[in-house]
Each structure stands twice: as C-alpha cells, then as structure tokens.
C-alpha cells in the first residue's frame, strides 16, 4: 500500500477525511436513533401492561 500522495495530498486527504467522518457519523446517528426508538417503545409497552395491544 502506498499512502504518499505527493503534492496532491492537500486535496486527497481532506476528501477521504470528510467522507470517512460523514459515513461514520451517519452510521452512529442511525444506530443511536434505532436504540432510542427501541427503548422508548419498550418503556411504553411495559407501562401499559401485558394486555396492551400490539399495533
């Protein structure tokens, strides 16, 4: 593997950096939202008791 991008480094690394940050960020954000929705639904379901209708 070769990470020496020569004089073009100033363009290549920011492009890779922004892409990596954005994709890691959106993955994290998506997982956090999923966990939050799951926890909220579980809390509501247990609060309403076992007879609560599943919709």
């Amino acid at each position: 593997m070769n990470f020496d991008m020569g004089s073009y480094s100033v363009y290549i690394w920011p492009a890779y950096g922004v892409s990596a940050l954005a994709l890691a960020g959106v993955t994290l954000w998506t997982l956090v939202a999923w966990r939050r929705a799951k926890a909220r639904l579980a809390a509501l379901e247990s609060a309403q008791g076992p007879t609560a209708q599943k919709s």
Partner: protein, 237 residues
C-alpha cells in the same frame, strides 16, 4: 381484513430486515476494507497522477446519491398507485441518506476539480444538475416536515419525488449532451484500466451496501416510532 393488510407489511419487514441486516453489515465492512486496501495499492494514473485515488470515493458517492433518489421515486410510485403502507416510510427514510451522499459527491468532486481542472467549481451541466439533486433532496425533506397531516404530506412528497426524477437522466447524460470539464463515462464502455476498475467496483458495492444497511435500520426505527405513537394515542384515548 383491511387492518390485517395494513399491519402485516411492517411486521413482515421487521422480520425480514432483522434477518438480513447482519449479513449486509458484514458485507459492507468487507467490501469497504478490501476496496480501501486496493484503492491505496494502485499506481498513479498517467494523466491524473495520485488524484485517481479520489475516483474510489467520488464515483461511489455519486452512484448512491442517484440510487437513493431512484429508491425514493420507486417507493413514491408504490405509495401513489398501490397505497402500500410501508413505502412512504421507506421513501422518507432514504432522503437524508441520499442528501448526505450527494453532498459527499459534490465535496470530493470539488477537491478533485481543483488540482485537475484548476477550479473547485464550474457551472456546467453535470455539476449544476448534481447540485440540483441536493436541492431536490432538501425540498423533499422540507415538504415532509412542513405538513402536519402525514397522509397529505406523503402524497405531496411522493408527487415532488416523481417530478424530480427528470433530473436523474439529465445528470447521467449531461456529459454527452453538453460540453463539460467533467470526464465521460468509462466503466460500462470499458475505457477504464482494470487496475482502477476493481477497487472502484468494490468501493461502489461497499457504498451501496452501506446505504442499504442504514436505510433498513432507518425504516425499522420509523416503524418502532410509529408503534410508540400509536400506543401513546391508545393510552390517552
């Protein structure tokens, strides 16, 4: 019966996506890992030097930006014509992802344009129509948020999404129809050298799989949020 039809689909989707997700997640990691390894193993291009490395993140972002829009358009059609209950949720869930990949395509493109064209930006057909795609995404998301009645919002957003489809072929063929600094298509026509083709294909597959994985999780999240809303309403009634 109507009731069954309405709720059978989200349940089915939860089961199916729950089973598929681990595999798409692992496949995403494998493709991106192998793709990145190959991306940094290629020789410099004879014209573009080391900036050819930008190909492997620029083109995949653009492909997913357009794919996500296509997904929204198909879901919108399903929603308008067949009133499939899950399709509005799916269309709405794809929009922020599509917008993000569009932004990444624009940013990586600008950072490639500066060393190769001497400018970050030109108002030519390819770049302008791609910027328009970003604005269509923003408009689509704004429309969803602006209308409180969800059924009405879904209908109007679906119509907007279908009107915006005309932009997709314009983006695709802009490099053939108008003069541009942007290079032409080189994958299907086989003009790209194999040494660059393989990392590009792996990265494209990785980006597409990442989009599909995140999209599925976002639809699942929206389904749970809807269930929670329904429970809240049932509780207050």
């Amino acid at each position: 019966m109507q009731f069954l039809f309405r709720y059978a689909n989200p349940h089915y989707f939860m089961r199916l996506s729950g089973a598929v997700l681990p595999f798409t997640a692992i496949a995403t990691a494998l493709c991106l890992g192998a793709g990145l390894y190959l991306s940094f193993s290629v020789p410099p291009d004879y014209q573009q030097g080391t900036t050819v490395t930008l190909l492997f993140i620029h083109v995949p972002a653009d492909v997913v930006a357009e794919l996500a829009y296509g997904a929204i358009a198909v879901c919108s059609l399903l929603s308008l014509v067949w009133r499939h209950p899950l399709s509005d949720t799916a269309a709405r869930a794809a929009a922020p992802l599509g917008a993000l990949f569009t932004a990444l395509g624009l940013i990586t493109g600008a950072l490639w344009g500066k060393p190769m064209w001497g400018t970050y930006w030109v108002w030519d057909a390819r770049l302008t129509s791609f910027l328009l795609l970003l604005f269509i995404y923003f408009g689509y998301m704004a429309l969803w948020n602006a209308i409180e009645d969800e059924t009405r919002a879904a209908r109007l957003a679906a119509i907007l999404a279908l009107v915006g489809v005309v932009n997709i072929p314009i983006i695709k063929f802009s490099v053939d129809w108008w003069s541009t600094l942007h290079q032409g298509e080189s994958i299907v026509s086989g003009k790209i050298a194999p040494v660059y083709l393989w990392p590009l294909l792996l990265m494209m597959l990785g980006y597409v799989l990442l989009f599909l994985t995140l999209w599925m999780i976002r639809i699942r999240t929206a389904i749970l949020e809807r269930r929670a809303r329904n429970l809240m309403q049932a509780g207050t009634r």
